[in-house]
Symmetry: C2
Subunit: 396 residues, 2 copies
């Protein structure tokens, strides 16, 4: 029989990242295609110790149904931490634990965006978010980026002319895929526009604490005095992505609705790992762990950028991110990033084509994304040599 | 500021079960309101052993991003097990690991049901499913039940007259909340109707292996030769609900789309627990564990039904389930189950009012649901005494 797929899902396809992951499963392939932290940074011993402790003393709580809002101690610890460190959260806000940052995007969209409403986002942007907006039959409008993030003049034009904009989706810090960070002034401007045109902002911020250089820029949420910003935070990049633990901070009314929505998706997040994360932050020095991650990633970023400057200059332009996981490369206008990634895959290097992150899914997109946190220095060295070789052959 | 909630979520409220759970958090309250397995049955030692083993030998896989379809060994083990034991799965089928059975309902609805499409379900039915259909702006049509499940004549009338029926949602075995099981003949009839009117069936089957008496009835999915049935299975009731591990078996095209949908919800299910469950089934005697659960639950069910016959006869009618977790009680027509549950809560017993499971959310619903797997024999003894007392006072 032919299954009739719903209108909202009919035209959504698996992302090209997944195709690239098939390439990376081949032996000896050097992968710049991933989007995670380095497994070398996982605090394995500490997590193992805590899991054993919880199985020993509190297995009932870890294995029975839990509450949808999340394990209460983890909610409190997270609230306190982001308030004290980043001034995130006001009296009117609340916080829910979610199954990874992706679920915040999904729940916020489910609770805010009607079919046909417009979601404005950076172009390019995180494909997991784009597909979520598509899956709720929202209309996507991309705003081009410069070295300071979303072009705010284009944004204002959209807000002026389109009445159905419901949500602005932004990754203001170490953006995925470009690595670009929006400066304070533009953030303030963005907040003013959201206020003026009465639009909500979804601030996706999984990389905020992974800064290797430059000055800290306040989050949008830390400047939100009206409840207009939904903040998506995550423990994926700083502890482990496999456990799927993130959190959303937003105004109480919205978080209450997102809780009802979460009941319809997965009832609650894995209970054992909510407990493990709570105890990890309580019993160990989480900030020191993050500092150590940053030191290691800084070495990799510096090495990769230096190598790219040596080898790729003249072929591609690329961003110089102050943190996060990604470097964004731009081929000359007439070349397709998608074709280049296919080409490079045959020589043993995996990158993610720009079309993946393109609001229009345009195969003529001339960009590709490189990750520098997972490959070793040796792999970066060898991998960028191969990329350089491929560029020489590819660009006639 | 006032947040404008989406149309799909505006009218969905937290379920009354949650209100009842607040009652159960009070000291000395006897709870018949839960919906989970007894924590005494959790295989804590085995799971703790496996977690330690995985942290020791395979922490990378457990803590890094995993694939959306689920940990490959768990998919294979699950496919083999349900094929060998229950004849579930054909050449045209595939299987995805999900974050609890709830996610199968959510993903199937997202991929099949357009806004305004009709979902037909048993009335009463599982509130988590009803809210999911509501959250996708589907129209819910309830079919009344008799002692053999969904009234098939009413169902056919609906299918005959309504052109937009997309999905039949059913819990054919030990239904939640009624405990009723649909006999083979009616299952065959249901399949024929689905075929005749070209409608998909979502078979929600979390309790199938928890049978304490009577004859095994084949699942709808085991009789599905065309790919019309989506089967929702779960490890929540037989291993642990807190870990959130379930699975969906359906035709390949649908499972592929549900995989894309899952990427938009939570990317993948908690990796460590997918590995733990795979190894648990491989290394331990899962069937023996389930047999043991059934022995214990049988004692509780038998004791509870006997006690109810002694104490409640004349006040309420109640079902006599052959398995699962629930007994369904019916007050005389003119009394509200909701009012009775509020009344009983004041005397220290928590039950779930029928309105929770009612397609129309009708507060005049004269029923309530009792769980017998979690309370101890002592609590059942005392709790049913209190229920009897309350009924005597409540029914004038």
């Amino acid at each position: 029989m032919d299954v009739k797929i719903s209108d909202r899902m009919a035209n959504i396809n698996p992302s090209a990242i997944r195709e690239m992951l098939k390439v990376t499963a081949m032996p000896n392939v050097i992968s710049f295609a991933a989007g995670g932290p380095s497994p070398e940074e996982f605090p394995v011993k500490e997590l193992a110790h805590l899991a054993a402790e919880i199985f020993e003393t509190d297995s009932y709580t870890a294995l029975q149904y839990s509450v949808t809002e999340g394990y209460a101690p983890l909610r409190e610890i997270t609230k306190d931490r982001i308030k004290n460190k980043f001034n995130i959260g006001r009296e009117f806000d609340d916080l829910i634990i979610v199954s990874g940052g992706q679920q915040t995007i999904s729940l916020a969209t489910q609770c805010l965006v009607n079919e046909g409403d417009i979601v404005v986002c950076e172009n390019p942007s995180f494909v997991g978010a784009l597909n979520t907006f598509r899956a709720f039959n929202a209309k996507l409008t991309g705003v081009p980026m410069d070295e300071n993030g979303m072009d705010i003049t284009v944004l204002e034009n959209i807000l002026k002319t389109e009445s159905r904009v419901k949500l602005i989706y932004t990754i203001p810090t170490f953006q995925n895929p470009t690595g670009v960070t929006m400066p304070l002034k533009r953030r303030q401007h963005l907040l003013e526009l959201a206020e003026k045109y009465d639009v909500m902002i979804l601030e996706d911020d999984p990389y905020y604490e992974l800064r290797y250089s430059g000055e800290i820029v306040p989050t949008l949420k830390s400047m939100d005095e009206t409840g207009r910003v939904i903040y998506s935070g995550s423990y994926s990049k700083t502890i482990s992505p496999g456990m799927r633990i993130g959190y959303a901070c937003g105004c109480k009314e919205l978080i209450a609705k997102m809780t009802v929505a979460k009941q319809t998706q997965d009832v609650h997040t894995n209970a054992m790992f909510m407990m493990i994360v709570a105890r990890y932050i309580e019993q160990f020095d989480f900030d020191a762990h993050i500092r150590e991650c940053c030191e290691h990633y800084k070495v990799k970023r510096d090495f990769m950028l230096k190598k790219m400057e040596e080898k790729l200059t003249g072929y591609v332009k690329f961003t110089k991110p102050e943190g996060g996981l990604f470097i964004w490369c731009e081929l000359p206008q007439e070349y397709s990033g998608f074709e280049f990634c296919k080409f490079a895959a045959n020589y043993g290097v995996a990158c993610v084509p720009g079309t993946t992150f393109d609001v229009a899914e345009d195969r003529n997109n001339n960009c590709f994304r490189l990750n520098f946190t997972i490959p070793s220095l040796e792999q970066i060295d060898k991998g960028i040599d191969i990329v350089a070789d491929c560029l020489e052959k590819f660009i006639k």
